[in-house]
Subunit: 331 residues, 2 copies
């Protein structure tokens, strides 16, 4: 049904090998042959079968990308960046969404492993041991989680977190809440310790709530917990939770940015359109995606020697101040 290499070869009166070379390694054949083959291939509408090629070459030209939740606005920019970077290098992207279900991560990684040249795991929720198993399946890059034995792209929350706390304390806030993300989440742990350190340094009192799922509804729930605690400022694990908090508090008559200040993390497009606009810690998602692909390609091309220490890319975050933060209410 579909045109194969052999078909093209027959049409040209050549062998499949020659046609293969003419198409993928043009210098190996004479100019005349090359010309003839390429014309025939074009005319016949030949499309190389990547599956067959993969099998014989041992390289699939595909990378796997596993994320917890495509619908969370934090991930699309990463996915997009990975995609774009790959497209430029003639790579395809196999995407999987684990639905925030950590147990699925290993399964997905396993079924993918023989189908891809490498894997990019974003914000894996699995416990360390299972993450190790994933890494053992093949070349793997982790984003938003530090895995000592594998290349990782990290998002350095501490800077942004410190900026956020400085910003809030400068505005007079003394009691600050941190709304924690999923317990397993590496980035949550990062953020927790960072905010704790920053608060200690600034002599502000930190109260932690959670864990919460990274969803608007969780933020709505969180808002009610804050009631009557004397807290004047909130830092949420991510923008979704922050938005939920804002929505619920507004509903209850609190003025965001006046009666209470809210800080999100991710600086997703949402933060610019919310009301009031959300002060958020900017996370360079696109850069993270791009860096992950580059790291993976380094491993695949063996730029990274086997026994080198696993490379680490650390990306900075910074606070973007918008309307949701303001002076602490007096009295």
């Amino acid at each position: 049904m579909s045109v194969t290499l052999t078909d093209v070869a027959q049409r040209c009166g050549l062998s499949a090998s020659t046609v293969s070379r003419a198409l993928s390694d043009p210098d190996k054949v004479s100019a005349a042959t090359r010309e003839r083959v390429q014309r025939a291939a074009r005319e016949m509408g030949y499309i190389p079968n990547r599956v067959a090629r993969s099998l014989s070459m041992g390289r699939t030209g595909t990378i796997g990308l596993i994320v917890p939740d495509i619908a969370n606005p934090f991930f699309p920019p990463i996915i997009k960046a990975v995609q774009q970077r790959c497209a430029g290098k003639d790579l395809s992207v196999l995407l999987a969404d684990t639905n925030e279900h950590s147990a699925d991560e290993l399964d997905r990684a396993r079924t993918m492993s023989k189908q891809v040249d490498g894997l990019i795991m974003v914000s894996p929720r699995s416990p360390d041991r299972r993450v190790g198993e994933i890494a053992a399946l093949g070349p793997t890059v982790f984003v938003n989680r530090h895995v000592p034995e594998a290349p990782s792209v990290l998002i350095e929350s501490p800077d942004g977190m410190r900026q956020a706390v400085e910003h809030l304390t400068a505005l007079g806030h003394r009691r600050i809440a941190y709304l924690a993300g999923p317990r397993r989440s590496w980035s949550n742990q990062q953020r927790r310790t960072a905010v704790a350190a920053a608060c200690a340094e600034r002599d502000a009192e930190l109260v932690e709530f959670g864990p919460f799922e990274p969803q608007v509804q969780a933020g709505v729930r969180a808002a009610d917990l804050l009631h009557g605690t004397g807290i004047t400022a909130v830092i949420a694990y991510d923008d979704l939770i922050a938005l939920g908090v804002m929505a619920r508090m507004s509903e209850r008559g609190l003025r965001i940015g006046v009666d209470v200040s809210v800080v999100g993390i991710d600086d997703s497009p949402l933060s610019g359109v919310a009301y009031p606009t959300l002060t958020s810690i900017h996370v360079p998602c696109a850069e993270a995606g791009t860096a992950a692909v580059d790291l993976l390609l380094d491993v695949l091309d063996e730029v990274t020697a086997e026994d080198d220490p696993a490379p680490l890319v650390e990306l900075e975050t910074h606070l973007v101040i918008r309307g949701s933060t303001g002076s602490a209410p007096t009295g």
Copy 2:
């Protein structure tokens, strides 16, 4: 390096064929053998090579998904739904983003074609001829575009559009702007004609602007065009444009929902957190994704006979009224 079927076979003192059958068609071998093979496979950590399987079976167990822009909040829910549906059927998803570049669609489809069992094209921007070429590459389902010769999942804007216009005219608006999306976009054409029809029916005046890219910035630009036109209500091609309009107008001191009403389309999560919350036409993205996969599987399993008319799934839309629309300003 990695354990193959043959390795398992040797360990068991069997042939590869038997092992293959024991694993994928257990009834074909004796109970004892089945047991022995399965245990060995488990112990050795055997993971079947899907690439090899694809080659010999002629089925890859993968479907391709091509979208214009992953970062546009309209698409992630679709991608997610497709993903979820596929995961349940042991299918993988190959994702490509054309960056709103219609010329890339055919390219991507072509390179994917030999690597997937079928293709789902969401909102293709290509001209009809090229869309036809894509469909000719293999089983293809189109979402958000009607392609007569191929299965399609359509989102019926007319209902939602009519509801929107009725809503606005009931509120007293007589001059309504439509901010058009990409010229090539099938859904834009749908929406244009739907809104025009609804306005004619309701005797409201319709003024069209655009085309605009489906991005917030385009909405910001659009807002300024509306100035001094006497328009009191705006229906935008999508939520992003609507949000841009709102943001810019608020900035210029207009009160959204009072001085001017804004309606978006997609009902993305954004609309709930914007200020004011955005009245939007709800589009069942998840259902569209799921339906697309089902349609594709029907074709692949030949539930759909070759010469049947191409199946069509039509999904309804409806207006969700929020804070961005209100009575037309008097005078």
